[in-house]
């Protein structure tokens, strides 16, 4: 394989070198059961609590509010269902946006099947929920929980979390904020009651998620009792993974201000250039209020799977929300909810260190790739 530009950070960020170093060290010294009382165990416990303090600080939480899960998806499942369970007497109505990660929407379906109710608030053409519509939904008498992402994972659009959080506070409704796409890249917005994130999206290893529950938020795990992680998450903690996750978050956060401006300028260049060099393209998502590293566009008359395959051959790892490339026959629920073109879709998400030269090479290759696919389909 020749030169490959990895442009799929929104799926997973490559392991940060400092995380790799921390992981290797922690595998040797942090393997013991942190709940036990002998030397090796105390060592593992110390590493775990140090990591918890660091992650808490980076996310604007207190250490005792932070629990580690086995993934971002598990953090969302536990966060959504645990908060609803803790507040089941206050109300069983769940409010969420139409463009949340599937883990939120699947947890919502489970809640609905269990007799709860779910209200899904739509988004505009740029993928943003209207704070007024979201607030109106939250204001109902029996709302148990509201969920909103910081930024959309497919199109990068930032959500009005601070406004929605203020409205939730006013109505006494806890807000779960899914920060999977922005943790380590952008400051965490104020006002969350429950916060979820995923370490492999910020350059940590897979297998570590974060569930932070603000002090005073009623929470009760819906799973069988377990003593670990303040009874919020069952099972033995992945101490080496957690230590590496904390190291990655520390490193990413330290570089974030500089790196996000650099990546955002590259995204701006892609957003500006693609419609100039490829006919019949729709660049999707908010051009300004967006995650720094994500850009999505759809090419008319192009099969998304063919486009991904051709870009792979040309040395680019990108993702797509087109139906033929997803595990289901439906196109991405995000693109559907926005009402934008779902076929011929490409998501470019730049990892830390993505270079201007790689982006230029992508822009040099793209027009011809799209043209050839259209020609083969008899359109160009």
């Amino acid at each position: 394989m020749g030169l490959v530009a990895y442009f799929d950070a929104a799926s997973t960020e490559p392991l940060h070198p400092q995380a790799r170093e921390a992981l290797l060290a922690a595998i040797d010294v942090g393997w013991a059961d942190p709940a036990r009382l002998y030397g090796q165990a105390r060592r593992a416990h110390l590493l775990l609590e140090q990591a918890r303090t660091e992650v808490a600080e980076a996310l604007g939480a207190r250490p005792d509010e932070v629990s580690f899960t086995s993934s971002g998806t598990q953090a969302v499942h536990l966060g959504v269902l645990g908060t609803l369970h803790g507040r089941r007497r206050a109300g069983r109505h769940l409010v969420t946006s139409a463009v949340e990660h599937s883990s939120v929407l699947h947890a919502a379906s489970l809640h609905e099947r269990g007799g709860g109710t779910v209200e899904i608030v739509g988004v505009d053409l740029r993928g943003r929920v209207d704070p007024a519509a979201f607030t109106a939904a939250v204001a109902g008498p029996d709302t148990g929980l509201a969920c909103l992402q910081t930024a959309n994972h497919e199109v990068g659009t930032l959500q009005p979390v601070a406004e929605v959080a203020a409205a939730c506070r006013e109505h006494g409704v806890p807000l779960l904020v899914d920060a999977a796409q922005t943790a380590g890249r952008l400051p965490i917005p104020e006002g969350w009651s429950v916060l979820t994130a995923s370490a492999h999206k910020w350059g940590g290893p897979a297998g570590v998620g974060v569930l932070a529950v603000r002090k005073g938020t009623r929470f009760r795990s819906f799973l069988p009792e377990d003593e670990r992680e303040r009874r919020r998450v069952p099972g033995f903690e992945n101490v080496p993974g957690i230590v590496a996750a904390a190291a990655a978050l520390r490193a990413m956060t330290a570089e974030a201000a500089r790196e996000r401006d650099r990546l955002s300028a590259l995204v701006d260049k892609i957003r500006r250039t693609v419609p100039e060099i490829v006919p019949d393209v729709e660049v999707i998502g908010d051009p300004v209020e967006r995650a720094p590293h994500i850009v999505t566009f759809s090419c008319l008359y192009v099969d998304g799977e063919v486009l991904l395959t051709e870009l792979d051959k040309a040395g680019f790892a990108v993702s797509s929300g087109s139906s033929c490339t997803a595990s289901t026959l439906r196109p991405s629920h995000v693109l559907e909810a926005m009402g934008v073109l779902t076929h011929g879709n490409v998501r470019v998400s730049l990892p830390r260190g993505a270079s201007a030269a790689e982006v230029d090479r992508f822009l040099a290759v793209l027009p011809d790739v799209v043209h050839r696919i259209r020609q083969d389909a008899g359109v160009a």
Partner: protein, 81 residues
């Protein structure tokens, strides 16, 4: 349903995956007179979103999408230019 305009042309894209229904629509819209309605029969869920999105991008008008008894939709588009 009485208000549904009789299409001047119907494209049968049933069983075809996107982008094929959109390609067929783009090819055949010029076969109908200005302001006439062209219907796309499609059952790929992507077409339900993509035909209206194509209309927005191409400045034609999405008139409506009507469910077909056998599944899928008849998606009506008015030729604007």
């Amino acid at each position: 349903m009485t208000e549904v305009i009789q299409p001047a042309l119907t494209i049968d894209a049933l069983g075809k995956k996107c982008p094929i229904p959109i390609i067929m629509l783009a090819e055949q819209i010029n076969y109908v007179p200005l302001n006439a309605v062209i219907a796309v029969l499609a059952d790929d869920p992507a077409a339900f979103t993509d035909v209206p999105a194509w209309c927005r991008l191409k400045s034609h008008r999405h008139v409506g999408s009507y469910e077909l008894p056998q599944g899928g939709w008849s998606i009506h588009v008015r030729r604007n230019y």
